[in-house]
């Protein structure tokens, strides 16, 4: 799409970025946009730590023998990779960065309902992160990110209690973000912005918040029980003392399965924004896409025990959960079909955000379809704890959530920074990420189907798996480059990028009707909404003035 010619900004215009300077103006800020940037820096830091562990894992698997690291180290590598990526990158990624930045702007509010709680949430995240780093530096944890009892409670020699505390604290940061979003979306909408006019990004974040609010407390109390059990040998999860380890798994997955939807739902919200904008069309089936977000949030709570089919729970329960797991595919499919229908006869622009959106569509569909395999009892038993599962959830979390996150970062970067990123590099990066991702994880589907178990550092008794593992490691290297590129050119653009106009994509949505970067209170005048979301036909119609708020 052609960028609008940048409107020269008067040098003295006050924005949230230049209003105040100094460390404390950031560390004590209650401005949701500044807090979003604090989150952006912190989660990027953890993303690269988690990525570093992933790279070591892939390097170890380059050869069948266990040569780079030994078993204990390898166990710690995949545990820390999982814990860091899930609790310190994926869960906060889109909600705490883009959500924080955009939810108030999209609904025409000056800030979130509880700005100080928002800041508190970031500090909790940082406290959790520091605990996690300390835990890592003093030896790490080898329980797997799932920290199953009774291994975690009775056997591991690593310091799980500290890692548990880190997750506990980070969990409350996540709850506070969700609480803020729910209240903000209910109470702070601009006049005229009815629920049926909300951007789908808002619907997605609303659904995400529901999961954060209702799921996270359960894992919090589970961590309390695990820590108490580990410290005092109570017997709650210890079969030797009459406890039931499966109870741990039930409680753990009651949160951790819906947690997948905490990661993917916001990415789906981003998809709706990007696909509508770069097809220049209203989202097909708006209300279906909106309500499918809520449906995913609710159904997501009904399926957790498909993680436990081989764990020894009752056959009847396995049947029930298998059936329910299929049900959650319905709202996800509704979304994919509606996005595809939006593309149909749209005037499609292949800008970088849209390339990420296409990547998301394909990869998420792959991840979702293989998820159906795993919902089927028989196949699940066959591929349990193999690389098939690893590939499946990476297609959802990396192919889905991270693709969405990157697409969103590109889409809103002009709004966040007031600068344009270099489009050519961005398209190249999107392509590299897509290729690198598939090269990394597609071979893992095959590996898993052939029977390579996950969490093994040494496969020297099955050297025939090496070719696919080499491909996967090569892909991980490409993927690493693909992730470094955006960081470099985003940083570059902050100084050297062309100034962005208020609405470089000519997109609908209130966040584009204020300056780039926005002033501290987002809008100089309270917006009044009189139009439906995604009114692209209206925007693109000749001789129509763009509806904008006077500045």
């Amino acid at each position: 799409m052609s960028m609008e010619i940048a409107i020269p900004q008067p040098a003295e215009r006050e924005t949230y970025l230049n209003k105040e300077y100094g460390v404390w103006s950031w560390l004590l800020t209650t401005d949701h946009k500044r807090i979003a940037l604090l989150y952006l820096i912190s989660i990027t830091f953890f993303f690269f730590i988690g990525g570093f562990f992933a790279l070591l894992i892939r390097l170890e698997l380059l050869t069948p023998a266990g040569d780079l690291v030994q078993a204990d180290t390898y166990n710690k590598l995949f545990t820390m990779h999982g814990m860091v990526m899930i609790f310190f990158f994926l869960i906060p990624s889109i909600p705490a960065v883009l959500g924080n930045f955009l939810v108030p702007m999209m609904i025409g509010a000056k800030d979130l309902a509880f700005p100080r709680i928002n800041l508190l949430s970031w500090y909790l995240y940082i406290i959790g992160g520091v605990l996690m780093l300390h835990c890592m530096l003093t030896g790490g944890v080898d329980t797997g990110w799932t920290f199953y009892a009774p291994f975690t409670t009775n056997f591991t020699n690593t310091n799980f209690i500290e890692a548990g505390m880190a997750i506990f604290v980070a969990g409350f940061s996540s709850i506070l973000t969700g609480l803020n979003f729910v209240v903000t979306i209910h109470r702070m909408r601009a006049p005229g912005l009815t629920w049926a006019r909300l951007p789908l990004f808002i619907w997605a974040h609303y659904a995400t918040s529901i999961i954060q609010l209702l799921g996270t407390p359960v894992i919090a109390v589970t961590i309390v029980m695990v820590a108490a059990e580990r410290a005092l040998h109570l017997g709650i999860f210890d079969p030797k003392l009459g406890g039931d380890p499966l109870l741990f798994q039930h409680l753990f997955w009651f949160y951790s399965h819906p947690a997948v939807y905490i990661m993917i739902l916001p990415a789906m919200g981003i998809m709706s924004e990007i696909i509508a904008c770069f097809s220049r069309k209203r989202i097909f089936g708006y209300s279906f896409v909106a309500f499918s977000s809520i449906a995913i949030a609710v159904f997501g709570f009904l399926v957790w025990a498909h993680h436990m089919f081989v764990a020894g729970m009752s056959v009847y329960a396995a049947l029930v959960f298998s059936l329910l797991s299929y049900a959650v595919a319905v709202p996800s499919a509704i979304k994919v079909f509606n996005w595809t229908a939006t593309l149909y006869k749209g005037s499609i622009h292949y800008d970088a955000p849209m390339l990420y959106a296409f990547g998301f569509l394909g990869l998420f569909t792959m991840g979702g379809l293989t998820g159906l395999f795993l919902a089927a009892l028989g196949i699940n038993v066959h591929v349990t704890d193999t690389y098939f599962v690893v590939a499946h959830f990476h297609y959802i979390m990396v192919g889905g959530a991270v693709m969405g996150y990157l697409g969103g970062m590109h889409f809103w970067w002009p709004k966040i920074s007031g600068r344009l990123y270099p489009e050519g590099w961005a398209r190249l990066a999107a392509l590299i990420v897509f290729i690198g991702f598939n090269l990394t994880f597609f071979p893992q589907f095959i590996l898993g189907y052939l029977g390579m178990p996950r969490r093994y550092y040494d496969y020297s008794h099955m050297p025939e798996f090496q070719v696919l593992n080499v491909l996967s490691t090569a892909g991980a290297t490409v993927l690493g480059v693909g992730y470094l590129l955006p960081m470099i050119y985003f940083l570059w653009s902050m100084r050297y990028g062309k100034p962005a106009s208020d609405n470089p994509w000519n997109a609908a949505g209130l966040e584009w009707k204020t300056a780039s970067p926005p002033p501290t209170f987002n809008f100089d005048e309270e917006p009044v909404v009189t139009w439906e979301a995604y009114n692209y036909e209206e925007l693109d119609a000749p001789h129509t003035e763009e509806v904008r708020v006077a500045r």
Binding site: H250, S314, A317, V320
Partner: protein, 99 residues
Amino acid sequence: MSTHSSSSSSPLKMYFAVFFALLVGTGLTVFAATLDLGRFNAAVALGIATVKATLVALFFMHVWHASEKLTKLVVIGALFFLLLLLGLTMTDYATRLWS
């Protein structure tokens, strides 16, 4: 949601009535626990507790007079998810052949 949406008449009577009902409920629970009702002991105890909790929520927490449905939705929603947690976990525990 403002709590003064009810009429201007003093709600004190209602507060004290609920208070006495709660005390009576407590006494009733203790008394019922001393009776041998077989498997219904638990049902009676939980039933009384639920009545008491409902009284507190409706009248002390003003859910009854809440000016909007959203409060009720939040309460009912949370209870629904609690029942999901308990109910779906029980699909496993109630149907295990080996325990």
